[in-house]
Amino acid sequence: MCNQMVVDMVDAPTDADVDRIFQALADATRRDIVRRVIEREQNVSDLADRYAMSFAAVQKHVAVLERSGLVAKRRRGREQLVSPVVDTIGHARRLLDELEALWRGRIDRMAAILGEPEGKGA
């Protein structure tokens, strides 16, 4: 539910939202975190191990990204997991929807040609 609200926000961002997104992405570490999170959900402590900075500093970066609406954090037991909100999988699916519609159109047109009396268009 909460995630959905954030998705909606990203779909129609206000100027303030856009500012927050740009600020969030203005930092190289945060961009790297987003890249990793888009690949797969990340554990905050695993993320912390990757950077030459304290756990608290990494957590702070994640918090900035969370406020920007780019990532969402959830708890699983003692772990904190970070996942993307900019739903790349959803984007890819929409892209495939378009591509599939294209091919369905083609197939319909093929059927129309095949349905013509012999000789026409051949």
Partner: protein, 161 residues
């Protein structure tokens, strides 16, 4: 409706269709560029095939009209042809000589034809080579907002496969 089913994969799909025509007849829709031109582009955006080798190695070069009447060139490269049952093609934006052009990677599609009684079952497998490729296209904004219109999407995707 000729389409009887679609199956989704991570980065693509397989569409199955059935036609009330023999395999050899359906194959002609692919082999004959004049027939191909009648169905490849959506209504209002006909493709003009200026070259169609239909052989391996071989290529096709075609263009489709853009929004302001410009000619958007694209190409096919034949990966394999096994008449009249299978065809594998790489497809993407090209220059007028059929050389890949633009920022987008080419995509592969596979066509299979199989006789069912007196008719034909056709399977088309298409999509993106990888989720990364899909993301690349997304990051280029190729399908955002205004390009949702099918005709436009067709031109911009260069038949993405």
């Amino acid at each position: 409706m000729p389409v009887i089913g679609t199956e989704r994969h991570d980065s693509g799909f397989t569409i199955t269709a059935e036609f009330d025509a023999p395999v050899e007849r359906v194959w002609q829709l692919w082999a004959d560029p004049r027939q191909l031109e009648r169905w490849w582009g959506p209504p209002g955006y006909p493709a003009t095939f200026v070259r169609h080798d239909f052989a391996v190695p071989g290529m096709s070069i075609y263009w489709m009209p853009g929004e302001s009447g410009e000619q958007n060139y694209a190409g096919w490269e034949f990966v394999s042809i096994d008449p009249p049952v299978s065809l594998v093609v790489d497809n993407g934006f090209a220059d007028q000589e059929g050389r890949p052009a633009g920022d987008l990677a080419w995509n592969r599609f596979t066509v299979g034809l199989e006789a069912i009684g007196t008719g034909t079952r056709m399977t088309i497998t298409a999509g993106f080579d990888s989720p990364e490729h899909a993301e690349q296209m997304i990051s280029l904004g190729m399908l955002e907002g205004s390009v949702a219109a099918l005709g436009q999407a067709d031109a911009i995707l260069a038949e993405g496969g």
